[in-house]
């Protein structure tokens, strides 16, 4: 028995570690271990692959590639701030999609050099190429939008659906030409040229798919693209007849699909609506005019001192953290504020909307970073009945997830999205930098509520000032 015959055994071990890893990631107690088990399995698979016959000619190239990619991935993952985590995941996901597409191109080239394209292999390779390409360019756009390089607003123009549909149709048509050529035994045009055009079309389709989607929907998009990459990797597995790629890619495809569905559900919208709906587009003129100021209601602003007094006399405070808190890195100041209030015997709880931050669970990660105990974080369903009993709801950098228009205004783009019932609290303090609308690009009726007081300022500074005032009063 040679070393090479042990490769499938190593691959089987790796496949098992991936399943155990995903299972481990399902529980807080085993998550760290699960991730490390999967990483170990990955290392086993990579080492085993070095003994494969196909690899022997390219060892220097592979080692150089691993060095460059490894350093880039490690440094990127170490230096990224916790708030920038979503776009980092998008970036790594895009890298995986790009790798799958490149594997497909190289495999096509090999098949053509070997003589003939075979139908099954051509189909799988085409799917790996197209799905991987869409995931690569789509993730790049998602990264750009979250990083603020590209406008996070939905990018729309007239005839957009026609253009997107046209790209999809052209991709499908050229793919059919290639498949028909594989069946007939000869492709009418130079096959590599055809493949190059299909690649460009797939990249264009990824851009066209993500550009019209607004920033608020990016979590769903990243999750969807994650599933896409998994599927592309599985298809590359079919092409290479590599069971490990099929198992691992499919596992991710399945998990990404579930996660995407959960997220869409949290926003009370179907996936189709996220991808093709009008969410994030500029609201119609009538809708915009109806939201602000036309009924004589105005915004009430409050000083840090008054906010401290209001909080100091409360018995029951619910903190509603949002992305603004994360951006300002205010989680440690919030912890300090909560400790101070608790030392006065005030109950402090946190209301976590399923899509608070920019990914499900993102806010939990950020608050955990500031050592805020798990048992004070409450899901939307648990905390919503508590709002009417709360003396103060302290909204820090959260916007769309508190907008009562989601309940009351059928014309609003976020109508039907489950929200935190902040408006039912006795008093509401909103810490916000300015009156700028949130990620969905719409105004928030909550700010016009007579119970609402606005404390303008950077979340970190504003919370810090309230803490100082509370200390002075004590």
């Amino acid at each position: 028995m040679t070393v090479a015959t042990l490769i499938p055994v190593a691959y089987l071990i790796a496949a098992v570690t991936f399943i155990l890893g995903l299972k481990g990631l399902s529980s807080p107690t085993t998550a760290v271990l699960g991730n490390r088990i999967a990483a170990t399995g990955m290392l086993v698979a990579v080492i085993a692959t070095f003994f494969a016959a196909d690899v022997q000619g390219g060892i220097p190239v592979i080692l150089a590639g691993i060095a460059v990619g490894g350093i880039a991935g490690f440094v990127g993952a170490r230096v990224v701030k916790m708030t920038a985590m979503p776009q980092m995941v998008a970036l790594f996901n895009g890298a995986g999609g790009g790798a799958a597409a490149l594997v497909a191109i190289l495999e096509f080239s090999r098949q053509i050099d070997a003589g003939a394209l075979e139908f099954g292999a051509t189909l799988a390779t085409l799917l790996a190429l197209i799905i991987g390409g869409v995931s690569f360019s789509g993730s790049a756009v998602a990264f750009g939008k979250l990083q603020g390089i590209i406008t996070p607003k939905a990018f729309r123009y007239s005839g957009q659906q026609l253009v997107t549909g046209g790209i999809a149709a052209a991709t499908a048509l050229l793919s059919l030409v290639l498949l028909a050529g594989a069946v007939a035994g000869s492709v009418p045009v130079e096959p590599m040229l055809l493949i190059a055009v299909i690649t460009l079309l797939a990249l264009a389709f990824g851009v066209a798919l993500v550009m019209p989607i607004g920033g608020a929907d990016m979590p769903v998009v990243i999750s969807l693209l994650n599933a896409y990459t998994g599927l592309a990797v599985a298809m590359a597995g079919f092409t290479l007849n590599n069971q490990l790629l099929i198992v691992a890619g499919t596992l991710v495809g399945a998990s990404g699909t579930i996660l995407t569905r959960l997220m869409s559900k949290a926003m009370n919208r179907s996936l189709g609506n996220v991808l093709f709906g009008a969410f994030g587009a500029a609201p119609a003129g009538g809708g915009a005019a109806a939201t602000a100021g036309d009924d004589g209601r105005s915004i009430r602003s409050i000083s840090a001192e008054d906010a401290a007094i209001l909080l100091g006399y409360a018995q029951n405070v619910i903190v509603v953290p949002g992305y603004g808190l994360a951006v300002a890195q205010a989680q440690h100041n919030v912890r300090e504020l909560a400790d101070l209030l608790e030392s006065k015997g005030i109950t402090v709880r946190y209301a976590i909307h399923p899509v608070a931050g920019r990914m499900p669970g993102h806010m939990n990660v950020l608050l955990a970073e500031a050592n805020i105990p798990y048992d004070k974080l409450f899901d939307m369903e648990q905390i919503n009945p508590e709002f009417p009993r709360a003396d103060v709801a302290l909204v820090i950098g959260a916007n769309d997830v508190t907008n009562p228009a989601a309940r009351s205004n059928p014309g609003s783009p976020i109508y039907g999205m489950p929200i935190l019932d902040v408006d039912k609290a006795q008093n509401i303090i909103v810490i916000k930098r300015s009156m700028k609308p949130g990620f969905a690009g719409i105004d928030n009726d909550l700010y016009l509520d007579p119970k609402t007081a606005m404390l303008f300022g950077d979340a970190k500074e504003a919370v810090g000032k309230v803490v100082q005032e509370l200390k002075r009063a004590a």
Binding site: L25, P86, L240, L251, A254
Partner: protein, 99 residues
């Protein structure tokens, strides 16, 4: 269809079911680390990249092979390290679930 590809389809279909079963019971607090961990696992494409890195002789083939390995490695290493960092923040917490 060859016997080999039938086996591959079997593996694919069974893996779909395993994928759904394994992760359908995740608390929402762990959704972000899960997405990141799953993201690292599809970095297994690095094995595919290694297998085709020297498939095409000549500079173009080498450059494409090199790029595929770079992207695959970045996916694997970045994915696992980022997930580990996220999870490190949960570590000293009491593990009681907010139910």
């Amino acid at each position: 269809m060859s016997n080999e590809s039938i086996v591959a389809v079997y593996v694919f279909v069974l893996a779909v079911f395993v994928g759904f079963e394994v992760i359908s019971k995740v608390p929402s607090t762990l959704h972000t680390p899960l997405m990141s961990g799953a993201n690292a696992i599809h970095g297994i494409v690095i094995v595919g990249a290694m297998l085709v890195a020297s498939a095409i002789p000549g500079p173009i083939g080498t450059v494409l092979g090199f790029l595929a390995v770079v992207l695959g490695t970045a996916n694997v290493v970045g994915g696992f390290v980022v997930t580990d960092r996220m999870l490190a923040m949960f570590k000293q917490r009491p593990t009681r679930k907010p139910q």
